[in-house]
Symmetry: C2
Subunit: 227 residues, 2 copies
């Protein structure tokens, strides 16, 4: 459902050009839960931003459901709203909205009726153990509580592709387990595809396949490990 062909990305800082991704080619099938692993700085977030159609400036080709993405910002924005969910490494919750409103937002963008929105938001907040904090703003929440709201927001509209950048980094074992179980349930019932950057074996051990990055390149499959 997702395919990269020779995808490269460099960052320009003043005179210096840093190659963050180097000719990445890979295919990801519908329903797979991919663990994207690799050292700090190896290019995971960079690759996820491209997969999640947030970064449209790279070299090479990206195919979504067999169609080559033309990087038309309008088209990508519609795709993102309807078919993607993204858990950011820094959460990126909207500070002026409550936990409930943050999670409700993708449903509003997809024009879900108010009663169904309320039910689905409370259901997913409960699944991540955050129902009692529905009316709290992000600055009133702990690190792991904010992360769980970010996860709920990425999943609430049952997107076809979920991109998650270290979704369990701030979680203790119990809440990490809750998040992993939620992802697996949604994956099973909706054939959702997941691409998850992670250093956390509590997450990677549940992935159907691991892809390992090093210095912007994919390492040979046999050696892939997430720790």
């Amino acid at each position: 459902m997702l395919q990269f062909k020779q995808v490269s990305k460099y960052y320009q800082t003043g005179q210096i050009q840093q190659q963050a991704l180097k000719h990445i080619s890979e295919q990801i099938q519908t329903g797979e839960m991919i663990g994207l692993c690799g050292p700090s700085g190896s290019g995971k977030s960079t690759l996820l931003n491209i997969c999640g159609l947030l970064d449209l400036s790279y070299q090479g080709e990206l195919y979504f459901d067999g169609h080559k993405l033309d990087n038309d910002p309008q088209h990508c924005m519609i795709l993102r709203r309807q078919q993607l969910g993204f858990v950011f490494q820094r959460f990126n919750l909207v500070p002026v909205m409550s936990a409930f409103e943050n999670v409700e937002y993708p449903l509003m963008l997809n024009q879900v009726a108010i009663r169904e929105r309320k039910q689905r938001v409370m259901q997913i907040l409960d699944a991540v153990g955050m129902a009692e904090f529905a009316h709290s703003k992000p600055d009133r929440l702990s690190g792991g509580q904010q992360q769980r709201i970010a996860v709920a927001r990425a999943l609430v509209h049952k997107p076809r592709l979920v991109i998650a950048d270290e979704p369990t980094a701030s979680l203790d074992s119990h809440t990490a387990h809750q998040v992993v179980e939620l992802m697996k349930d949604i994956g099973k019932s909706h054939q959702t595809t997941f691409v998850i950057a992670t250093h956390d074996s509590r997450m990677s051990e549940h992935c159907s396949r691991l892809i390992q990055l090093q210095d912007g390149q994919i390492l040979a499959k046999e050696t892939a490990t997430c720790v």
Copy 2:
């Protein structure tokens, strides 16, 4: 070197008062490396903010080197600059300063001469694998790279007490190991005391003692576990 007596803290949000810490009493000796563990929302960051003299509004008493802290903001600020290092859960790097300048800052506050500053900053950046990024600003760095700069900044002035809020959450095994080794070296050579909130067994297994929080209270010692 640090003692809490019946420390409590509540957050007021509108009409609701939430008790984040409930009568915490504990003693921490010089040179200990304490792992502070507990579920998401259990009060770890709240307790660290009090230990680190960042939060001066709580009930109960805090003793630093045997002296009861009078919560005089001026006095606490001087203590923080000279004797404390803090790794924040969200890093809190200064966006307009480079990695080098961020790490150099505690040395400037402590009036270290320019030549010695340069040497100490490059030495610690090297110890966390970030020497080649000395001139990068935080927004050019990956999550784990920013975390390592935050760790370097907390340690560079060889403080007597280091408070670290999940310092390895965003790190792969190799860089997590580098950070743990650096903390252990500094602990040995300078008798530094560490209080480290963590969900990460790669960090907690090196701690001399674990303290477990749950719902704002310290659990009985025998059951302490960091996972």
